[in-house]
Amino acid sequence: MRVVDNLNLALRSVLERDPEAYLLGEDIVDPYGGAFKVTKGLSSTFPDRVLSTPLSEGGIVGVGGGLALAGSRAIVEIMFADFVALAFDQIVNFASKSVSMYGKRVPMPLVVRCPSGGGRGYGPTHSQSPQKHFIGVPGLSLYEISPFHDNQALLPAILRRAVPALLFEDKLLYGRQMYTEGVVDDLLQYDFPAPDVARVFVETPDECDCVLIAPGGVSQRAIGAVRRLLLEHEISCQLLIPARLYPLPIEALLPVLRGAGSVFVAEESVAGGTWGHEVAQLVHRALWGELRHPVTLIHSQDSIIPTAGHLEEQVLLQETTICRTVVETLRD
């Protein structure tokens, strides 16, 4: 099953099971079914609760906040993650603060879905990974889809936590197949050493030379790098993909990281104040004396994301960048 179909099923299941759930977004109703077809078919089944909206990102996230405040579950699709900047006030100053600013916990089951990332030639305003701009907001959680995590379990779990969440969805991932039954390919397997943390490993999960932590959107590049490291450099690298990026469940990752002593973080975000910095700080605090080298960050360049394919490739995180950085770091 493709990731986009898994996500579509997850949304359908939330709407089916919860008569108070709403799904809002631009161009999401049939026959169009959303810019990336994630919501295809849903408005035909739930015409009153799956609503196409005006081009008003701030407004529709505010509507989602109002629905959540009044007792509904609300899911809002931002057509391109770049546009979530227009909803910054509603996310940061209203939905997230409302959880605690009234002196008692207020349930706010609101999920803002953000199709993110480049690699499709959409250019500087339609290709970003804005995760880093939302890290460290009290009351706000960040999630990212992956080909390992079943969204039919993840999405209801996020809503049950009843705190506002951003769900990042890498655009290139939509068309990929979900992995099933613990098998990645002929070389690699996967399991879940902790709830919502997927681990990709070679043969035995207990032995590896290093660990690579990456968000779901980087899965393909990270898996490619893990294969090449093994086949071309005889380096055994484990890959950890947490579904929740922030707050990161660091305790769940520590047993794996401790064993390796060598940790890398790969993400598509452009350089500067990235998610990886947050991960590195958490790992350093927990394992400083046990690491062979400081956590190494691998990310895109300090640049806007250009449109032409060859230029985009120069800027964005590549499989080869991950591979090269790991080899060079371990060699040193």
């Binding site: 701030g58 407004g59 109002g66 008692k104």
Partner: protein, 310 residues
């Protein structure tokens, strides 16, 4: 002289109001005055925005908006809260960070949540949220509405137009109450708003009603059928009060020239009701003063609020 006579005549024509409404009006007035005094004495932390001159707006609306309706308030919200809950103690404790505070001292003057009442401090932020609540009410509790208070300055925010568009498009029971006091903090409306609120609202096909009255009975009679229609037909409505901010924006920051302030004071409901019903007014005022004084004395001595649900 002529204008003074005209004002007096108008005052005499005031429709009678209940003791409860009169007391409430004066309680809010005394509460706000007392806050400014407490600030002056260095007894309050942070900032506050009083509704001096605008107290009649929520008092007039309180019989038209029930506890089952939602109310969204803004930075200038003490009157909105007190008109709905008559809870001097809880509000003062909130502003002073004392035990018994409505939101445990976390929200303070401009971030209050109690049942279906919510205030928040960013201009225009509440309107899309109010649209979301109205969307739910339309389906889950037809007949209920959402009342959102904003000011004339709020019309500079794009979120207002995004919200009005959706409310009209989806036919939602949203009552937007505009307290148009002619000044946004220190900037006169004429320097920050092109055109009129009426025309802006008209562009969305939403009903707009402007009232210059400060007479509680008159306002209720005017608005009752319109608000009923908004509920029954599930339609948005914008009611614009031509009102006057008698006090400063916040505390001691009034840069308006004296003649502008005098004009605001000439429109104050306070004078008109004092002239129209002198004895009842004096009696109610005495009662309001003592209620507020009692609460101030009591709350000042309470221990600090405790925040446990971080």
């Amino acid at each position: 002289m002529t204008s003074a006579v005209a004002t007096a005549d108008r005052a005499k024509e005031r429709t009678p109001l209940t003791d409860e409404d009169l007391l409430l009006l004066l309680m809010i007035r005394r509460f706000e005055e007392e806050l400014l005094r407490l600030f002056g004495a260095g007894l309050l932390n942070g900032t506050t925005h009083t509704c001096l001159g605008q107290e009649y707006v929520p008092v007039a609306l309180r019989t038209l908006i029930g506890l089952e309706d939602f109310v969204f308030s803004n930075h200038r919200g003490h009157g909105h809260y007190l008109a709905r809950y008559q809870d001097l103690r809880g509000l003062l404790a909130e502003i002073m960070g004392r035990e018994g505070a409505v939101c445990n001292g976390v929200g303070g003057s401009q971030h209050i949540l109690r049942d279906r009442y919510l205030s928040t401090g960013v201009q225009g932020q509440s309107l899309p949220v109010a649209v979301g609540v109205a969307l739910r009410l339309k389906h889950a509790e037809p007949g209920r509405l959402v009342c959102a208070h904003i000011g004339d300055g709020t019309w500079g925010e794009g979120s207002v137009y995004e919200a009005l568009n959706m409310a009209a498009l989806w036919r939602l029971p949203l009552l937007v109450v505009v307290e148009h006091n002619g000044i946004a903090q220190s900037t006169p409306t004429t320097a920050q708003m092109a055109g009129t609120i009426a025309d802006r609202v008209k562009a969305f096909g939403i009903d707009h009603h402007r009232t210059e009255s400060t007479d509680i009975g008159e306002i209720r009679a005017e608005l009752d059928p319109m608000i009923q229609r908004s509920r029954e037909a599930s339609l948005p409505l914008v009611v614009e009060f031509a009102t006057h901010r008698v006090g400063p924006h916040s505390k001691g920051d009034d840069t308006r020239p004296p003649d502008v302030i005098e004009r605001a004071e000439a429109h104050d409901w306070h004078r008109s009701y004092a002239t129209a019903f002198p004895e009842r007014f004096a009696h109610a005022d005495e009662r309001a003063r003592s209620l507020v004084e009692e609460v101030v004395a009591e709350v000042q001595d309470l221990p600090p609020a405790v925040w446990t649900e971080q």
